[in-house]
């Protein structure tokens, strides 16, 4: 994974980056739980809604803090969920427009990217 060089960051920015990586651990755990709900749960809309919100936050910050690929992975999921209307609970629209298996594959990629970012 390509990352920005932390050495080029100001001490303040490096602190924010560390906080972001710490938060990624929590977000990764949550995404793993939500992935299970998505694969096995009776209703996918609430899970998609939360996955969308987490992805949205990661997408908004990652590249600025030196994780452009993580940001891109998160952005794909954020856009997909936003477009299918899952965030509004319109589950039928989501089922029609979004291939759930594709979503799970992308989510796996995001979870892996989050894991790599923590090691960077």
């Amino acid at each position: 994974m390509k990352t920005g060089a932390p050495s080029a960051m100001s001490p303040g920015m490096a602190r924010v980056r560390s906080r972001f990586v710490e938060e990624l651990r929590v977000r990764q755990d949550r995404l793993i739980s939500l992935r299970a709900e998505l694969a096995d749960g009776p209703s996918v809309a609430p899970a998609l809604d939360e996955i969308g919100r987490i992805s949205h936050k990661i997408a908004g910050t990652a590249a600025t803090l030196g994780f452009p690929e993580l940001g891109a992975d998160a952005s794909v999921i954020d856009d997909l969920i936003d477009r299918t209307g899952a965030a509004n609970g319109t589950e039928s629209a989501c089922w029609l427009l979004c291939d759930l298996r594709d979503m799970i594959t992308r989510l796996d990629a995001l979870i892996a990217a989050v894991g790599r970012a923590q090691l960077a």
Partner: protein, 329 residues
């Protein structure tokens, strides 16, 4: 510069705190929700100079927050920058419609945020210097007789549908150049002889008449998608988000009818005759960033030229609704 930043992600708030501090902005207030922000604005003893809002937030979102702030008399023209990951055109349109001044997409480049804020800071400083030089000017201005400077000033009619500040319109088009300018057109509207019409009027009377005229423009352009900015004097520049079939001559007739129906009068009861002219529409498609600013100027120049030589009026259509009449479908 006193800045209020609103985002539901604490990491973004920390990041923006650092980004802003690096650029020398230390008077910062951070809020994690729109409701918290409204409380901070209401309880501020010194008003905020600038706002940075995220769009997607639980409860009240950043667009709704922008609308709420714009309704506050002290913040009708305060710079509001959206900092958001929402890059689709409808989010951008909604933000500018609500009163946003500028729009920065996440993930942002730190240098880009600094550059945009530098422009905002210069504008805030200019306004502050003006108020320091003449602190009673704002209070006296309404009753004062109109001056050339009053006539040339760009006014903000942000409470009218589709109206945004001129700077915001330029910023909107710059953003659109990255998304889509297909079908977008701009044109100017000018009211000839404005100096003569308002020669003996007060600032209040001029502003009130111009606000009514702006309302007529807004009404005449509905229900299409549009943005309009006052460009000073009797000049307005309009951007149609889907104006491929727009006909300037037909719109001019429709605007005349709308203005006539509003039956304008001076404060002393005399009838006020405003006969606006509409310049030729300029396509924005394939325009570069520099070309977009030039297109607005070109649209205004066309309206000014038309004001000197008004076109022959076309006959009114026998039937059909206004939208079909204006846009030809």
């Amino acid at each position: 510069m006193k800045i209020l930043v609103v985002d539901d992600d604490p990491i973004i708030l920390e990041l923006l705190t650092e980004v802003l501090r690096i650029a020398g902005y230390n008077n910062l207030t951070m809020c994690e929700s729109a409701y918290e922000a409204l409380d901070a604005i209401a309880s501020a003893t010194v008003p905020f100079d600038c706002f940075l809002f995220d769009i997607q937030m639980p409860g009240m979102d950043g667009v709704e927050l922008t609308s709420a702030v714009r309704k506050m008399p002290s913040h009708t023209t305060s710079p509001i920058l959206m900092i958001t990951a929402m890059s689709d055109r409808h989010y951008i349109d909604n933000a500018f419609t609500a009163g946003a001044t500028d729009y920065i997409t996440k993930p942002f480049e730190i240098a880009e945020v600094h550059a945009r804020l530098k422009g905002v800071a210069e504008r805030v400083e200019q306004r502050r210097q003006l108020e320091d030089r003449n602190p009673v000017a704002v209070m006296r201005a309404a009753a004062a007789t109109l001056t050339q400077a009053d006539l040339e000033a760009r006014l903000a009619f942000v409470d009218l549908d589709g109206f945004i500040e001129y700077l915001a319109l330029e910023n909107y088009l710059l953003l659109m150049s990255r998304v889509s300018l297909i079908g977008m057109r701009t044109f100017g509207i000018a009211v000839p002889d404005l100096e003569r019409v308002f020669g003996a009027s007060s600032v209040f009377e001029y502003h009130a008449a111009l606000a009514d005229f702006a309302e007529a423009i807004s009404d005449a352009l509905k229900p299409g998608g549009f943005f309009v900015a006052h460009a000073g004097g009797g000049k307005f520049v309009c951007v149609l988000t889907d104006g491929a079939t727009f006909d300037a001559a037909n719109f001019e007739v429709h605007l005349h009818e709308t203005v006539a129906a509003m039956d304008f009068h001076f404060c002393d009861g005399r009838p006020m005759t405003l006969t606006p002219v509409v310049g030729e529409a300029v396509s924005l498609q394939m325009k570069s960033a520099r070309g977009l600013a030039g297109a607005l100027v070109l649209a205004l120049s066309s309206a000014e030229a038309a004001a000197k030589a008004p076109r022959a009026r076309k006959p009114e259509p026998a039937s059909g609704n206004a939208f079909k009449f204006l846009f030809g479908f």
